[in-house]
């Protein structure tokens, strides 16, 4: 048993932390958030230079070949800095999807271009009726000769607007709700028939609903076997979930730090409000939640690659349930303890709060995972 990061992991963390704390302050965040694209290519180039975009790309494609622990080591910094660039969507999730098909040329080439920051890819999987069910795919891919024709609607695809390539899941067989029959396609975002309805999300990131209207792609842009894509997609989503947990823990830490600082300096009734015992206890509760959440973010990172799918999903659902509950408490109480100031757009606190809220809404909230956990452990 050992919960220390290795030297290599620590170096990665230090480099990312240094870069973000020097280059990605609150003002930069606000400027990027307010820009038309909602992300900054210059930051993306810097992240590529730091190796962040290559962390989980295999060495054969020019990457660093690292795994979830290295991702864990740097995701907390992304959360704390409110990073808007698509690290989670492209460098973690899409990369994990493509890794499963790295022996096929199109995936390998894309991975190599993603490692250098040249290309961005995102997974377009969930659909409007799906809520958080990954097998709920009704987008269709119909084969005609040497091409497929895609029709459907993908909901709230994070960073779709920034992507060069969309990894689109579509049904080649079976019906909505079946685990079988889902295939995966590389679709250029600029392909005819791909329509994006893009918008900011509650925490200032960007997303889009993606409409596929008779999109033609060559048969060679299908990844893997026909109808067998759901497993690798779910595996990648689980890796993404672990990374999202780490991001959320970084945000919670930032909120606890900011709130401790605030109750030290804010004076009411002739004292710092941190003197009131009720607030001391509240902060103690926040800290308890934070540490529980941190533990579960470690568990998630350690188990998200587990070959035993049952064990993997149990751990991830447990982690997401705890982190959702902790995030809710820490976020709400940070606002409360800041009084009116916590409600303002001016303070970073409200932005961290919104990022935690968004994390709760992604990949299933704590209730969804509580239920999933109950199903997975029934009879155990």
């Amino acid at each position: 048993m050992n919960f220390e990061f290795s030297d290599e992991q620590r170096q990665l963390h230090d480099a990312v932390e240094r870069y973000l704390s020097e280059q990605y302050g609150f003002d930069r965040f606000k400027a990027i958030k307010g820009s038309a694209a909602g992300w900054d290519p210059a930051v993306w180039r810097d992240l590529a230079e730091l190796g962040v975009l290559a962390i989980t790309v295999p060495a054969a494609q020019g990457g660093l070949g690292f795994g979830p622990l290295e991702t864990l080591a740097m995701m907390g910094d992304c959360g704390r800095s409110l990073l808007l660039e698509p690290v989670l969507s492209s460098a973690v999730i899409a990369t994990a999807v493509l890794r499963a098909f790295a022996d096929e040329t199109p995936a390998a080439e894309l991975l190599a271009a993603m490692a250098t920051g040249e290309k961005i890819a995102v997974l377009a999987h969930f659909e409007s009726g799906a809520r958080y069910e990954s097998q709920w795919v009704s987008t269709r891919a119909r084969r005609t000769g040497e091409s497929y024709r895609l029709d459907g609607h993908k909901a709230v695809v994070m960073h779709a607007g920034a992507a060069d390539t969309l990894l689109v899941s579509a049904r080649t067989a079976q019906e909505t709700g079946d685990a079988q029959g889902v295939s995966l396609f590389l679709v250029p975002r600029a392909a005819p028939g791909v329509v994006l309805d893009a918008y900011p999300t509650v925490d200032g990131q960007r997303a889009a609903d993606v409409y596929l209207q008779g999109v033609e792609v060559p048969a060679g842009s299908r990844l893997g076997l026909e109808g067998a894509a759901l497993n690798p997609i779910e595996a990648a989503l689980d890796i993404g979930l672990a990374a999202l947990c780490a991001d959320a823990v970084g945000v919670m830490q930032a909120l606890v730090d900011a709130t401790v600082e605030y109750v030290r300096q804010r004076q009411q009734f002739g004292h710092p409000i941190g003197r009131f015992q009720v607030l001391q206890h509240r902060i103690a509760d926040m800290l308890v939640h934070l540490e529980q959440a941190r533990s579960m973010s470690y568990l998630a990172a350690l188990r998200c690659n587990d070959k035993d799918i049952g064990a993997r999903r149990r751990a991830l659902s447990a982690a997401k349930a705890v982190i959702g509950q902790a995030g809710r408490f820490v976020g709400q109480q940070s606002l409360q303890l800041h009084g009116g100031m916590g409600m303002t757009d001016e303070l970073k606190v409200s932005h961290w709060f919104k990022r935690l809220t968004a994390a709760q809404l992604m990949f299933g909230d704590s209730d969804v995972h509580l239920q999933r956990y109950a199903e997975l452990t029934r009879g155990c």
């Binding site: 509650v202 409360q336 009116g340 809220t357 509580l370």
Partner: protein, 402 residues
């Protein structure tokens, strides 16, 4: 003991319903029922409708032009109005400054201000809080110095709700820096058009502009705008704080939002089934509904007690804490009910006057567009009007005696 309202009260409820059916337009009620903001004119229009009916001075005695309702009638009105999608009544005029003017103002002040409040001709805002004086309101620093028959006011107020719409502001100012904190405070009515007043917007976390900073620089306020005596303002302010109890829990609004939650949960699908059939989600709706029921009965007990002897007491704190917790829970469940479709955030979709464009489908269901923003916004409920921590201090001191 009985739970039912009296026959007269039930008849009154019918009358209110009838009024709402006739006078509340659907463009307003649609916005309210779907969580959109209303603008100044929409609020004032509604106030004028009430006024025409003789209900503009809600809760005022007949001698001041009010309908002379008791607190049960006010409660019934607010419940019915909320359920029908009536605008939330902006409290600063009718419910806050008016009772103070009635209790402590001169006859001239009563004649000058009250009719215009009732008629929806003048908008009031509240100027209590300052950057350094929130929970510890008595530490306020805005100064008023006598100069002939004027006060000269200097300082800064903050968090002024809808101050951008206001014609008048009622303020607590310091007139005696030497006296003990509460003793040197005066209650002034200040015209927002006075020279030397600057209003600056504060943007909240939902992107909305509902609060402001207000700066006073050598603002001259005639002596006749003072309520009561100099240095006795704290007493009047405390009277005001204890005055409003009937509506503080917001039972009607909570019932309306709960009904909306159920409607949305019936439309949302999970595993192809309505979300409302999900046992865990259904249990949470049940929990909040039961909590609300308990609060409703608590509120009715307070009302019934008041009918016998009208004395404001610290029970208001119970209603405030529980009411805000329930509103916040409902807003959170509403957001979670739509799952990923709570994520898209288009500020323009929440603005007053925003018209849904039927040629363009929003991402996800239309009802989802405002839910995250209102969850964010509702966090204010446990902060303003005395934070919930302060309310608990009041309960433990005043009710329990610790």
């Amino acid at each position: 003991m009985r739970l039912e309202f009296t026959d007269e009260e039930q008849a009154f409820r019918k009358e209110v319903r009838c009024f709402l059916r006739e006078q509340l337009s659907t463009d307003i009620s649609d916005k309210v029922l779907n969580g959109y903001e209303l603008g100044r004119e929409e609020h004032l229009l509604w106030q004028r409708r009430l006024h025409e009916r003789g209900w503009g001075g809600m809760g005022w005695p007949v001698e001041f032009g009010g309908p002379g309702w008791n607190s049960v009638q006010q409660y019934i009105f607010e419940e019915e109005s909320a359920l029908a999608g009536g605008p939330r009544l902006i409290p600063f005029g009718t419910k806050m400054v008016a009772p103070v003017i009635m209790a402590f103002g001169t006859a001239a002040q009563q004649q000058r201000y009250l009719p215009k409040i009732s008629a929806g001709e003048e908008w009031w805002c509240q100027g209590y809080s300052e950057p350094g004086a929130g929970s510890d309101l008595a530490s306020l620093k805005t100064r008023a110095v006598r100069d002939g028959d004027h006060y000269v006011v200097d300082g800064q107020k903050t968090w002024n709700t809808l101050g951008q719409y206001a014609d008048w502001i009622f303020c607590l100012v310091r007139t005696d820096a030497q006296a003990k904190q509460q003793a040197g405070i005066t209650f002034l009515l200040i015209n927002m058009k006075s020279a030397g007043i600057t209003v600056r917007p504060i943007v909240l976390l939902d992107g909305g502009h509902e609060v402001n900073e207000i700066w006073f620089e050598n603002v001259r306020v005639p002596i006749e705008n003072r309520i009561g005596e100099e240095n006795r303002g704290w007493t009047y302010a405390k009277f005001l704080l204890g005055h409003e109890r009937t509506g503080i829990a917001g039972i009607g609004i909570a019932k309306r939002e709960l009904a909306r939650l159920k409607r949305i949960a019936a439309q949302e699908r999970q595993h192809g089934r309505p979300l409302i059939e999900d046992p865990l989600f259904a249990a949470q709706i049940a929990q909040v509904e039961i909590d609300l029921w308990a609060l409703e009965i608590t509120n009715l007990r307070v009302l019934a007690a008041e009918r016998r002897s009208p004395a404001a007491g610290p029970e208001a704190s119970i209603l405030k804490i529980r009411g805000t917790e329930i509103h916040q829970s409902i807003s959170e469940l509403l957001m979670r009910a739509v799952g990923p479709y709570a994520l898209p955030f288009r500020r323009e979709a929440m603005e007053a006057g925003w018209q849904f464009d039927p040629t363009r489908e929003p991402p996800g269901p239309r009802y989802a567009a405002t839910l995250a923003a209102s969850y964010f916004n509702q966090r204010k409920l446990s902060i303003f009007g005395g934070t919930n921590e302060i309310q608990k201090n009041i309960i433990s001191k005043m009710i329990v005696g610790l």
